[in-house]
């Protein structure tokens, strides 16, 4: 069974550019989460989808970040325009239902220069 997959695994972009990260959750998992870890800090929650609906986006740092999950399958996280402090690793995770085991992708490493 395929796990949570994320694309790209690494990206380096210039400040002011746009990057779109993609996450494919485990098939059948309604819950999809985005987390990120910036250098030297804890992993922080960004937002939570249940199917295509945003349940909680309280962790999104500002309006430069836009997440979508059209059709309730894969999700994208767009950063536009990117700033230096956005550098870090962005993890996607999914679970079948609330309270079930949460499985993580390998992360998308973003470097903004």
């Amino acid at each position: 069974e395929a796990g949570v997959t994320q694309f790209p695994s690494h990206s380096v972009i210039e400040k002011g550019q746009t990057v779109t990260l993609r996450c494919d959750p485990i098939s059948g998992h309604d819950n999809l989460y985005w987390y990120r870890r910036v250098m030297g800090k804890e992993i922080k929650f960004l937002l939570h989808f249940v199917k295509e609906s945003k349940q909680d986006e309280s962790g999104m740092p500002n309006n430069r970040f836009l997440a979508e999950r059209t059709g309730g399958t894969y999700s994208t996280l767009k950063v536009q325009p990117a700033e230096l402090e956005d550098s870090g690793v962005y993890f996607c995770a999914s679970s079948e239902g609330l309270g079930n085991t949460i499985y993580f992708g390998e992360g998308s490493w973003l470097t903004v220069v």
Binding site: Y33, E42, G59, S95, T101, I102, F104
Partner: protein, 111 residues
């Protein structure tokens, strides 16, 4: 503010030693506590703990939760070099079960 604190931040031991990693938490609407192992990339799931005093075991790893004192420990016995990793503790909280993470314990096992 919800928080999860892990200790120690890093630990270096020799193969064969036993280690105990600590995780304490202060959160509202506690659901469960989870342990993950992160080697190179994705955190991989180890344990989910919801009830106090019930030990979960998987091979040389075991973990227990104390909901009264608000902490959990992760034990690894007869450590091997393959146990070297960052061990992350996270607490599921709130209505959407979002994870609140500790900073992790970096464990290095020397041959």
């Amino acid at each position: 503010e919800d928080k999860v604190v892990q200790s120690p931040l890093s630990l270096v031991v020799h193969e064969g030693d036993t280690v105990t990693l600590n995780c304490s938490y202060e959160v509202t609407n506690f659901r469960s506590l989870l342990w993950y192992k992160q080697e190179k990339k994705a955190p991989t799931f180890l344990f989910m703990l919801t009830s106090s005093g019930i030990e979960k075991k998987s091979g040389r790893l075991s973990s227990i939760l104390d909901k009264k004192e608000l902490f959990s420990i992760l034990n690894i016995t007869a450590t091997q070099t393959g146990d070297s990793a960052i061990y992350l503790c996270a607490v599921e909280a709130n209505s959407n079960y979002q994870l609140i993470w500790g900073a992790g314990t970096k464990l290095i096992i020397k041959p």
